[in-house]
């Protein structure tokens, strides 16, 4: 194989990976992949457009359960002090150990929202992030 083909293959792989990590599907919904590893979200800061719909793909690489809760400070407070066996709302999903979960959310007006995990001790450990709505 020539070096040109190798470079071309690498470039294609990078483009495919980039599209998977953050790309718009045919339905106009952008997909954002977030890794959950060492009880940390990566990336932990996102920027979206007002009115945009985003499909979050959450890959949990840890051997412990996590969750993804998207909302304002009040939503985070409620989840931090309360208990919910499951999450049925957009932007809220449980992510079992070693598994991948998805949730789709339509963002509203410009501003900022938070996301985080509220399993015991996880939020205070720093398992949280921010979405800026432009």
């Amino acid at each position: 194989m020539t070096s040109g083909r190798v470079l071309g293959g690498l470039l294609a792989a990078v483009l495919v990976a980039a599209a998977g990590a953050c790309g718009a599907d045919r339905d106009g919904i952008r997909t954002v992949e977030i890794d959950l590893r060492y009880s940390t979200f990566t990336p932990s800061e996102l920027t979206v457009e007002a009115g945009e719909t985003v499909r979050f793909v959450l890959r949990n690489d840890d051997p412990i359960h996590h969750e993804f809760i998207l909302g304002d400070a009040e939503v985070q407070r409620i989840h931090e002090v309360g208990e919910e066996p499951h999450h049925a709302r957009p932007g809220e999903v449980s992510v079992p150990a070693g598994e991948t979960a998805m949730t789709t959310y339509r963002f509203g007006d410009p501003g900022a929202l938070l996301f985080g995990c509220h399993l015991p001790g996880h939020w205070s450990y720093g398992m949280r992030g921010t979405v800026r709505i432009g």
Partner: protein, 346 residues
């Protein structure tokens, strides 16, 4: 060539504020943990590491336990001695305190984990397992160990140096049936071949909040005065830590060694020519991101063994590292891990 050395380390977690599980061994399913103290002893002579871990029963009900990462595969797992840890503690206790005291007293297997040995000692179910941090975490979760959010990173931190762990599950119901009283301890003695002993310290902070004070007593017995890494405060050694104080640094008395060698399973210990080091650890949890590497052969301890630098991926299965870390047992800590903040823009 193996270094002819004996290293004995005991770690007592003392006075840690916070949830009950932060105090000692574990992590009970349902959050009820009754271990108030986990003590460990690591020893090495003639190519064999002797490691003793002690659990103190605090009267909880149900099952709970801890996970202890090991540097290699033990070829012997037996009930530990009766007084070794206590005798060491007495040895370094100030004379004034002793006088005052006298006056006042007159499972299901998980994918990726290889179960090497299962044994019941007293009310403890012991499992020796081999696997990476992720696999051991999976196994722990499947076997009722409630891992705190920092556990995945800490498990991997140790697994990179040694993929061997000991899980100890304490059956409090069985303890009650056996008439075990609150405060009674059960010790486990493991004989592990290894070259470079080190004492796990970071694990003591597991599950603790960032500013929680982690305190421990660490005893070392070596055939010569050891080099330590990180260096204790004021030692002038590398990576000096304020939270690590060398309190005793002297030849071990024949009286002490004879006492220790007379305990069950301690006959391997020489009764003369040993060096006693006694260190007190007092470090905030988010600062405790290191272990104690020891070299008593005249060389310098490894920064990798001390947890100060990362471990190359291809050394994970090497038996060169003597790692003993008490997971969960000594409290799950919030290790203020460096957070990687990556950005994704639309």
């Amino acid at each position: 060539m193996r270094k002819a050395m004996v290293a004995a380390g005991t770690a007592f977690l003392v006075g840690v504020a916070g949830p009950a599980w932060a105090c000692g061994g574990l992590i009970a399913p349902n959050g009820a943990v009754g271990l108030v103290k986990t003590a460990t002893l690591a020893a090495y002579a003639n190519g064999v590491e002797h490691y003793v871990t002690q659990f103190e029963f605090a009267g909880a009900e149900g099952e709970f336990g801890s996970i202890v990462p090991l540097p290699g595969v033990p070829d012997r797992v037996v009930k530990g001695g009766e007084w070794t840890l206590e005798r060491l503690a007495i040895e370094v206790q100030p004379v004034r305190d002793l006088l005052q005291a006298e006056s006042a007293a007159a499972a299901p297997a998980s994918r990726g984990v290889e179960i090497l040995e299962e044994k019941r000692i007293g009310a403890l179910d012991i499992t020796i397992l081999r696997g990476g941090g992720r696999a051991v975490g999976d196994w722990a979760g499947e076997n009722g160990f409630d891992l705190t959010p920092d556990a995945p990173e800490v498990l991997e931190f140790y697994a990179r140096r040694s993929p061997v762990f000991m899980a100890a599950k304490f059956d409090a119901t069985e303890a009650a049936r056996r008439g075990l009283e609150r405060g009674e301890g059960t010790s486990i003695h493991l004989a592990i071949p290894t070259d470079d002993p080190w004492v796990p310290l970071r694990i003591l902070a597991l599950g603790q909040t960032g500013d929680a004070l982690v305190e421990a007593d660490v005893f070392l017995l070596t055939e010569r005065q050891p080099e330590l890494l990180p260096g204790p405060v004021g030692s002038g050694a590398g990576w000096e830590r304020d939270g690590l104080e060398l309190v005793r640094d002297e030849p071990a008395s024949p009286f002490l060694l004879t006492d220790l060698a007379g305990d069950r399973g301690m006959g391997w210990l020489p009764t003369e020519g040993m060096w006693l080091s006694y260190l007190q650890l007092s470090e905030e949890a988010d600062e405790l991101r290191y272990d104690l590497a020891i070299d008593a052969s005249g060389g310098q301890p490894s920064v990798v063994d001390a947890g100060l630098l990362g471990v190359p991926r291809d050394v994970g299965t090497s038996p060169l590292w003597v790692a003993v870390a008490v997971l969960g047992g000594l409290g799950l800590v919030v290790a203020a891990a460096a957070r990687r903040q990556a950005r994704a823009t639309a």
